[in-house]
C-alpha cells in the first residue's frame, strides 16, 4: 500500500512563509510521497517560488509537482521550476518520474494541462487562429500526459498516478459555475488517462469544486485544491496492482 499526500492551490507569497511547513513536517508519519498540484504561487515570480521552496526543502518524503496557471502568470515558468527543483522537488511537464516508496515503485506522470471543456460542451479546433491554438495547446498537454503514463507502464511501476493542475473530469468541478467549466479542465486529459491507464488522477485549480470524481474509464479522480480539501494536504492509500506474469504482459 502506497500513501500519497497531495495538495494544490496553496498560492504562496512572502506573507505566507511558514504556514504549511508544520503540517509538512508530519508527512513521514502518514505519507510516502507529496504531490503538489499546481498554483503553488500567486503570480509565478521566482520570489514566490522561493517561499514554496523553503516550505518543502529537506522534507523526508519525495516531492513531485506540476505548475498551475498562476505559476505561469509572470511568464517565468522555467525559473519557477528551477527554484523548486533546487529545493528537491521534481517538477513535471509532459514527463514522468519513478519514485521508490519502500518496496514499491510509484510512477507519477505530470502536466499542467489546460482548459477546453468536456465532451459535448467543449471548444473545437476551428475558426480563428487563437481558438485553434487554444485547443491545440490543450491537446499537446494531454498527449504529453498519455505518453508519460504509457512510458511509466513500460517501466513496470507498481502504481501510476496522473498529476495535473486542470481537471480531467467535470465531476470534481461541482460547485463551480457551469459556465466556467471550459476554463477549468478538459476531457482530453481524461481520455489520455483512460487510454494509458492510471491508478489515481490528482488535480487542483477548481477552488469551489468537489474532491471526488472518476473518469469514464473508471480511474478515480481527486481535486486536492486546498480550499476543497480544507487541510494542508490529504492522504490517499493506493494499493499496488497484483504483479502481472512476464508472459502475460502485452504491448
Amino acid at each position: 500500500m502506497i500513501r500519497i499526500a497531495a495538495v494544490g492551490d496553496i498560492h504562496m507569497a512572502p506573507e505566507s512563509q511558514g504556514t504549511l511547513r508544520p503540517a509538512f513536517d508530519t508527512l513521514p508519519e502518514c505519507a510516502d510521497i507529496l504531490l503538489l498540484a499546481g498554483d503553488l504561487t500567486r503570480h509565478g515570480t521566482p520570489e514566490e517560488a522561493r517561499v514554496v521552496a523553503r516550505e518543502i526543502r529537506d522534507l523526508p518524503v519525495p516531492v513531485v509537482a506540476v505548475l498551475g496557471n498562476h505559476d505561469h502568470h509572470d511568464n517565468r515558468p522555467g525559473e519557477v521550476t528551477a527554484v523548486l527543483e533546487d529545493a528537491g522537488a521534481q517538477v513535471l511537464e509532459g514527463r514522468g518520474v519513478v519514485v521508490p516508496c519502500g518496496e514499491a515503485r510509484v510512477g507519477v506522470a505530470g502536466t499542467k494541462g489546460f482548459g477546453g471543456g468536456f465532451v459535448g460542451r467543449c471548444a473545437g479546433e476551428f475558426g480563428e487562429p487563437l481558438m485553434k491554438e487554444f485547443v491545440r495547446y490543450s491537446r499537446r498537454r494531454a498527449d504529453g500526459l498519455r505518453m508519460s503514463l504509457e512510458q511509466l507502464g513500460r517501466q513496470g511501476c507498481d502504481v501510476r498516478i496522473a498529476l495535473t493542475h486542470y481537471s480531467p473530469v467535470p465531476e470534481t468541478l461541482a460547485g463551480e459555475p457551469l459556465e466556467i467549466y471550459p476554463f477549468l479542465g478538459s476531457y482530453l486529459l481524461a481520455e489520455a488517462i483512460d487510454t494509458a491507464g492510471a491508478d489515481l488522477a490528482v488535480h487542483g485549480h477548481a477552488h469551489a469544486g468537489t474532491e471526488n470524481g472518476m473518469t469514464s474509464g473508471g480511474v478515480r479522480v481527486r481535486n486536492v485544491a486546498q480550499p476543497v480539501i480544507g487541510r494542508a494536504f490529504h492522504v490517499y492509500h493506493v494499493h499496488a496492482r497484483e504483479p502481472v506474469a512476464a508472459g502475460d504482459r502485452s504491448g
Partner: protein, 96 residues
C-alpha cells in the same frame, strides 16, 4: 482610468454606476492586482454584494474585503471569505 457614469454622450444612462458592471470590473482588478485573487466569488444580491471563497492568509482576506468595501462604497458588502486551514489531516482515504 475610466469615466463611466450618467450623462455620457452614448450608452445607457448610468451604465457606469450599474452594480453588476462595477462588480465585474472589480473582479478583474482583484485578479490583476497584487493578490492575484481568482478564487473569491462576488455575487450581487439586490443592493448588497456577497463575497465567498477561501484565501491563503488572513492578510489576504482582510485586503480583499477592504478593497471591495472601498470600491463599492454605498453598497452593503457581506464578506464571508475564509482562510484556508493549514493543519494536517486526521485521516486518510483508502482507495481499495
Amino acid at each position: 482610468m475610466s469615466h463611466h457614469g450618467a450623462g455620457g454622450a452614448s450608452g445607457a444612462p448610468g451604465a457606469g454606476d450599474n452594480l453588476e458592471y462595477r462588480v465585474a470590473r472589480l473582479k478583474e482588478r482583484l485578479a490583476a492586482g497584487p493578490l492575484a485573487e481568482l478564487g473569491v466569488r462576488l455575487e450581487v444580491r439586490g443592493e448588497a454584494v456577497l463575497l465567498t471563497g477561501t484565501v491563503p492568509t488572513a492578510r489576504c482576506r482582510d485586503e480583499i474585503c477592504r478593497t471591495v468595501d472601498e470600491e463599492l462604497a454605498g453598497h452593503r458588502v457581506h464578506c464571508d471569505v475564509v482562510v484556508a486551514d493549514a493543519s494536517s489531516p486526521d485521516r486518510a482515504e483508502d482507495l481499495a
